[in-house]
Amino acid sequence: MAERILMKGNEAIAEAAIRAGCRHYFGYPITPQTEIAAYMAKKMPKIGGVFLQAESEIASINMVYGAAAAGMRVMTSSSSPGISLKSEGLSYIAGSDVPAFVVNVQRGGPGLGGIQPSQSDYFQATKGGGHGDYHMIVLAPASVQEMASLTIKGFNLADKYRMTSMILADGTIGQMMEPISFEDAEIESYDKPWALTGTGMERKHNIVNSLYLKPDELERTNFARFEKYKTIEENEALYEAYRMEDAEICVVAFGIASRVAKNAVAAARSEGVKVGLIRPITLWPFPKKALRQAAEQVKAFVSVELNMGQMIDDIRLATECTRPVSLCNRTGGMIPSPDQVLESIREAAKGVN
């Protein structure tokens, strides 16, 4: 029987990162994710790793950029306003094709907003976040176990594809405590011949850079990067399907919204509504294929989100607007109740009958 530890969501990320071989954490306090920094501050010195509280979120993402360029598994964590500060750094990391791991434990926005959970950084995460054409692999845990397993997966994917993996969590899962296990964790290792390690006077110097003043060269790097993204979209999209076999209504939700939605789906089923749930686990790459297939079967979709309607756009795009998609949402730190989601399901069902 696998060893299970009771952990808080935020701390599970930190512990999983350490197990994934991350020995460098640079961050800055911000609610509701500071437990990650605090955990790292305690653990890293004990295992010969580096914890440094930077002077700002801007400084910490640039420290991550440096350590990543030097070939190390490195991470930072923050919450919504802090992630905004990191946008430029994330764009540089993408444009330089170095791997990094970033955690956003979302809070209410925009602006200083609130400290209660939200999912209102979906656009920011999935459309890149910073300037220019690029993507990050965006992973959306819906349980403390997934906070851990997706962290390990995130480090592997970042190294494999030389890009940023972002955990897009919310304050609820961050604060939640659940029993988890690390035993199935598979740590993958990738060579980094491009890394800045010192030439040793044995090789030509490596340059980690995102500046290409010749437009045809810059265009080439963009096209090449998007070829890579195409491969990722074909191979790395992850989702969970719940009671979709004979569904006529499909609820789509991630993170904490998916847990509430699952309760509502179960309740709706007991009322005789043929409803199922598709839970994207990777928000980028979005599980487009699964939704396209669902659109051939179901009559309507319901997007359940803690924002003003962001993932709903991607559902419409993936299904090419062939089915009606309605929004069931709360924001500002409010969370939809199972009853509210159930009502939306009933509305959607009424709409198609």
Binding site: R23, H24, F26, V50, L52, A54, E55, S56, I58, A59, S60, N62, M63, V64, Y65, G66, A67, A68, A69, A70, M72, V74, E88, G89, Y92, S96, L196, T197, G198, T199, G200, M201, E202, H205, N206, I207, V208, N209, S210, L211
Partner: protein, 253 residues
């Protein structure tokens, strides 16, 4: 016949893109000479700025990172903390180090980050066409101070060495110039010391190099170096502003 002076190994064969008479070339050479003299090229990693020296990654033979504007000390921290055996240096202009990057500069110094920072102060933003810098002199005409820098409107220039010398953190803070042969040789010594301090794990070392921008100052290279002597150096006096080891040794005597 013995070679008395040649291009250092730590400089590549890439042709420098700088304007005629721009002291960046001299300062790059002094950094490369320090790297050669200390025999550290194989384990040196440099961090290039945003500014005229953005392409420094092509000019140095060691591994190089292109940092975001102002963030070189943070990226250098990231590299040094995970590869402490490497010698890490940043090379930054006045906008990079003293404007947008002021927080990163002060905090790296305060943390006594064991890195070497080369600060090129030419009192103007060269790359973007000659705008006012935090080190532009009162009355100095630039593209964004077309009537001369008015201290009543936008305050006074920042003296970085003096500022950083008030912190406990830094090991070595010095200001040099490259406007004549004597100053260039002294600058070379200070830069080599700043690298040697890192090799000896002594901590944060910054050398501010009072430089010039003939193109955006609207002067010939010769006149620009004369202006350094007549106007820049009086405002930014040369000297050692902090030397923790020397101070400790003096105390013990």
């Amino acid at each position: 016949m013995a070679v008395v002076f040649q291009k250092p190994h730590a400089l590549t064969d890439a042709v420098l893109h700088y304007c005629p008479g721009c002291p960046h070339g001299i300062i790059h050479r002094l950094v490369a000479e320090a790297i050669d003299n200390l025999g550290i090229e194989g384990r040196t990693i440099g961090v290039a700025p945003v500014g005229c020296a953005v392409m420094a990654y092509d000019y140095f033979s060691c591994d190089m990172l292109e940092a975001a504007h102002g963030r070189a000390p943070a990226s250098a921290t990231g590299i040094k903390r995970c590869r402490p055996e490497c010698i890490v240096f940043t090379y930054q202009g006045d906008g990079d180090l003293a404007s947008i990057g002021m927080a990163e500069t002060v905090h790296a110094a305060a943390r006594n980050e064991n890195i070497t920072v080369i600060f090129v102060n030419n009192a103007i933003y060269g790359m973007t066409g000659g705008q006012m810098a935090p080190t532009s002199l009162p009355g100095q005409v630039t593209q964004t101070s077309p009537y001369g820098r008015d201290v009543n409107h936008c305050g006074w220039p920042i003296r970085v060495c003096e500022l950083l010398s008030t912190l406990e953190g830094p090991e070595y803070v010095a200001r040099v110039a490259v406007n004549n042969v004597k100053n260039v040789k002294a600058a070379g010594k200070a830069i080599e010391k700043a690298f040697r301090n890192q090799v000896e794990n002594k901590g944060f070392s910054l050398v501010e190099v009072v430089s010039a921008c003939p193109t955006n100052w609207g002067m010939t290279p010769q006149k620009a170096l004369e202006w350094v002597e007549s106007d820049m150096i009086p405002y930014y006096p040369l000297g050692v502003y902090k030397d923790r080891t020397a101070a400790k040794e003096a105390e013990q005597k």
